[in-house]
């Protein structure tokens, strides 16, 4: 019986389950590669063998030097074949084998021949291969051909030469820069890709010549650019020119803005996006400039293409950091993205919403996020947690729902980094929002009941030891802490013992009961736990007399940066002299400027050392009080942020902190010597107060020695009228004796030379006398203040080119008060705005300010200022400050 005819099916691969490379083995392929040496070349077979070699290379197979050389030599024989397909494979495999310099010579002559071939495609490929494997000496030989190729009529040849130029510019810039004229000609090419490649190369050649780049941009923005890719490049170069020129035209318009704006109407989405991104990145971009860009990005949010949605939401997320109000129009579109299948898009949408949302939308947003959190990865969750922390600091009134959210997600599954992010956030909220303290501490207590991370448990216990005793009812935390002593590993148990002791030391009423608990710890199985319990029982029980320093060290918070303590301990050599903790520098080494400016530095959570110099009044106060000359200045009212008095990367770096007391001002200059070959001695700052008449200098405390890279401090104190916000300008000169240091021995010479160094001027302004202290509910606070203390007046602020937000920021900065309820952000294009500020005036007087702004069509800004305070004189003083500012 005849067999039914089975049709041979080309597409049998659907069911085939074996790979053409199955069982492929390097040795066998190398054997096969001998066909390259056959006198009668089988082009098809050779191509197959090259494919196998490519596959092996892609699978990460490596060839020994001998193997690679052998294959390479055989491959060069294939230039004899005239088969086009095989020749194309040969070009590819030569690049993949990346032969060594001495081998390259073998193939150079064949490639040079191809480069002069009449066949365009030989030329293009030979150029690409040669440029890949060549070095500088060969390059000078072929330079002439490359220059010709750049202006070749065949776009493939021209592109090959141009892209080679882009690569060669990295290794042989001098040679490639000589091709400028040819490249310039290629920029005018009618072939879209040639223009794109030429533009990229030309810009790289000229990137250090601002004028040339500016001319290039000017001419191209007027002409026609053929491909969207080239147009994108042009937009990028244009924004670079705008950034560098930095000025606006006489009409107030930004140069090239019209070009960027016109690109928003381009037919290619890539170009539209690039233009929108360029506009949002403009320095000091105004609402008017932003609006068209935001509009197109908003359209992209509802695109069917995930890439476009992602690009748009990513850009809007960035805009929201600086111009939250400009993005609010997109909130509805963004909310629909929370359920986007692409979790990156959803996370970006959520974090943007968290930045742009207002107080009333917080609860709704939190509900949406709760559903979303369960199905995203930890890294996304961390981003959301950080955004929620910022939101909570912005709207302190909403702490309850945000804190609840954090505590709920803390109970769910998650890795260490995620849990740490949540705990850090709760800690920061506890520190910054007093009302949130009690509930936050209880959430943390509940968390350590079931916490699998030793690190987090110990950190929380440490934090409880600091904050717990200050609460209304410290006893309620003891149970949670003592449970740790029973249920945890030794590290956590030891931490719990220390925490218990801190409660005992700070709360007298709890002491006897803490004693009972500590005594039980004496029978612990771990040495450290028993040792700690013994130490605390003895010190707290008064069996051993301890001085204040020891008590501070045991029970106070350690205000020494841990890095410094570690360095000092490492340097300490065992001797008769005990280690003196007071000699450990308090100053955190200032970071290099570039690092300081690095964006996205998140506030550190608990346990971590502060990221800058000690900024809290507490630690400054302790530091100043330890200096006898300042001991009678009374209580420190405010310390400013450090003001740099030198530019970055100068020989000596100096910054100053202004400390305000009731009748005195102390300038604390922190100096760093950045020259290893110098030792500075008797360092002092000479302050000229001729422009600060009401200040008179009382003390100047020099710094004895300033070795290389070890910051030291010198102080100058002034007397000033009591309780008044006296202002003035001070000029500063750093004076010192400089001694040469022998770099090999590190010893300084005996004789030094006196020298001085001019520093920047320093001003004491009204804002230095006002503490930024927020209120959680402004309206309540305002109404609870005596209406008779209110002083209202109106001011004309003149024309403000940048609109209301500039005016609002200026007034906030003059007063140095805390903006409340997010009112520092002005919606784009608003004609009026109310900003609420709160603070404490020198003398401890509470002040609230209500600023109402209005702007007319000529950008003239008027402001109504209403002040209430505990002292009418302070209300008047605020008006004086604004009037003179």
């Amino acid at each position: 019986m005849a067999q039914p005819l089975v049709k041979k099916d080309d597409d049998r691969d659907d069911e085939a389950d074996y790979s053409p490379f199955m069982g492929i083995e390097k040795g066998a392929v190398l054997q096969e590669a001998r066909v390259f040496n056959d006198p009668q070349l089988d082009a098809r077979r050779c191509s197959q063998v090259i494919t196998k070699l490519l596959y092996l290379l892609n699978q990460g197979e490596t060839f020994t030097k001998v193997e690679a050389t052998e294959v390479f030599f055989s491959v060069t024989k294939l230039f004899q074949s005239r088969d086009l397909g095989l020749r194309r494979m040969v070009y590819l495999i030569i690049k993949e084998l990346s032969p060594s310099a001495d081998e390259v010579i073998i193939v150079t002559s064949s490639l040079m021949k191809d480069m002069n071939s009449k066949t365009d495609m030989y030329r293009a490929n030979a150029i690409r291969v040669l440029c890949r494997i060549t070095d500088g000496t060969l390059l000078t030989q072929i330079e002439r051909y490359l220059k010709q190729a750049i202006v070749d009529k065949n776009p493939v040849v021209a592109s090959a030469a141009l892209v080679s130029g882009i690569h060669l510019l990295q290794t042989n810039p001098e040679i490639v820069k000589r091709w400028s004229n040819e490249v310039q000609e290629a920029v005018q090419s009618r072939a879209a890709l040639v223009q794109f490649h030429a533009l990229a190369l030309l810009h790289q050649i000229r990137q250090n010549d601002r004028l040339a780049v500016s001319k290039l941009v000017t001419s191209l923005t007027r002409g026609s650019v053929r491909s969207p890719l080239a147009q994108c490049l042009l937009i990028r170069y244009t924004s670079q020119v705008i950034r560098e020129s930095g000025n606006t035209t006489q009409s107030g318009d930004r140069p090239f803005y019209d070009f960027l704006e016109s690109c928003l109407r381009h037919k290619s989405e890539m170009v539209i996006f690039e233009a929108a991104k360029a506009i949002t990145d403009l320095n000091g971009v105004t609402s008017r400039e932003l609006t068209p860009a935001i509009t197109v990005l908003q359209l992209f949010l509802s695109s069917s293409k995930p890439v476009l949605r992602f690009a748009a939401v990513r850009t809007l997320n960035k805009v929201a950091m600086t111009h939250p109000m400009a993005v609010t129009n997109c909130n509805i579109d963004m909310e629909s993205l929370i359920s986007d299948q692409n979790r990156s898009i959803a996370t970006l949408a959520i974090t943007t919403l968290l930045k742009t949302g207002n107080e009333s939308s917080v609860d709704r947003l939190m509900k949406q996020i709760t559903n979303f959190m369960s199905d995203i990865a930890d890294e996304f969750k961390i981003v959301v947690v950080e955004a929620i922390r910022s939101l909570c600091l912005k709207f302190p009134l909403k702490y309850r729902s945000l804190m609840n959210f954090l505590s709920n997600i803390l109970r769910e599954e998650g890795g260490f980094d995620y849990k740490k992010a949540i705990v850090d956030s709760i800690v920061i909220l506890i520190r910054d929002i007093p009302d949130a303290k009690e509930s936050g501490l209880l959430h943390l207590c509940e968390f350590i009941e079931d916490c699998e991370f030793t690190y987090l448990s110990t950190q929380i216990l440490h934090f409880l030891g600091i904050e717990g005793p200050k609460t209304v009812d410290p006893s309620k935390y003891i149970r949670y802490i003592y449970n740790r002593v029973h249920l945890e590993n030794a590290t956590v148990r030891a931490s719990a013992v220390s925490t218990l002791a801190k409660f005992g030391a700070s709360v007298d009423g709890l002491k006897p009961r803490i004693f009972v608990l500590l005594r039980r710890c004496l029978f612990d199985s771990d040495d450290e736990v028993r040792d700690r319990a013994t130490l605390y029982l003895n010190t707290l029980g008064g069996d051993i007399e301890i001085d204040n320093d020891v008590s501070d060290f045991l029970f106070g918070s350690l205000d020494i940066p841990l890095v410094n303590l570690e360095t000092s301990l490492k340097k300490y050599e065992p001797s008769d002299k005990a280690f003196d903790i007071n000699l450990v520098p308090r100053e955190v080494k200032s970071q290099p400027l570039a690092e300081k400016k690095a964006p996205g530095k998140k506030p550190t959570g608990l346990g971590a050392p502060p990221s800058g110099p000690p900024s809290t009044v507490d630690s400054y106060e302790r530091q100043l009080l330890s200096i006898p000359e300042f001991a009678n200045f009374g209580k420190l009212f405010k310390s400013s942020a450090p003001v740099e008095l030198t530019e970055a990367e100068t020989e000596y770096a100096v910054n100053v902190v202004k400390h305000i007391f009731d009748t005195h001002v102390v300038f604390q200059y922190t100096c760093t010597n950045t020259i290893p070959e110098q030792l500075l001695e008797d360092v002092i700052v000479i302050v000229d107060a001729s422009e600060a008449e009401e200040f008179s200098q009382v003390i100047s405390k020099p710094l004895r020695s300033l070795p290389y890279d070890s910051p030291g401090q010198t102080f100058v104190a002034f007397e000033k009228p009591e309780g008044l916000p006296t202002t003035g300008k001070f000029s500063n000169i750093l004076k010192f004796i400089v001694k040469e240091v022998d770099p090999t021995s590190g010893e300084a010479e005996d004789d030094g030379v006196e020298d001085e160094y001019q520093l920047e001027d320093l001003e004491v302004v009204a804002a230095d006398y006002i503490l930024k202290v927020g209120v959680s509910n402004f309206r309540n606070a305002w109404e609870s203040m005596d209406p008779d203390s209110e002083r209202v007046d109106e001011y004309g602020l003149g024309q403000r080119g940048e609109g209301l937000s500039e005016a609002v920021n200026t007034v906030i900065n003059i007063l140095g008060m805390q903006p409340c309820e997010g009112t520092e952000a002005v919606p784009p294009n608003s004609r009026s705005h109310t900003c609420l500020l709160s603070g404490v005036f020198i003398g401890g007087v509470k002040v609230l300010v209500r600023l109402s702004f209005g702007i007319d069509s000529t950008k003239d800004v008027a402001m109504k200022l209403a002040v209430r305070s505990d002292d009418v004189n302070v209300s008047d003083a605020i008006h004086e400050i604004v009037a003179s500012g």
């Binding site: 790979s19 690409r128 892209v163 890719l229 490049l233 890439v307 992602f310 692409n342």
Partner: protein, 147 residues
Amino acid sequence: MILAVLFANAEGNILIKRFHGVPAEERLHWRSFLVKLGADNLKGVKNEELLVACHKSVYIVYTILGDVSIYVVGKDAYDELALSEVIFTITSAVKDVCGKPPTERRFLDKYGRICLCLDEIVWKGYLENTEKDRIKRLIRLKPPTEF
């Protein structure tokens, strides 16, 4: 700079990899990162539907085509939109060579051709060609039609 182009099969085995400007010691990490990204997200995704992610300042656009997943990683000028242009060119060229979205077998059958296409599309981190018809001619050493 296009930092990487990667083709993997359904099991996450690498079929073709191209790195540019990525230190050798980081490549393995990138490989596993991308494969995991695909395993987590590419299930049920339609052919050529683009997915996108970013990691610090690096962008990743990836998709699935038949049995093969394709990843393109870029930074600076090669942001998500430029990369989607790159991956579009790659998928068009692969479809062209294979005649349709390929099975793994078909992809491997056409392996040499696909490597050549890739060589025409991305050259040491830069996008060189974008049109599939042109690429089809170039890999046969034929000049482009418009010339």
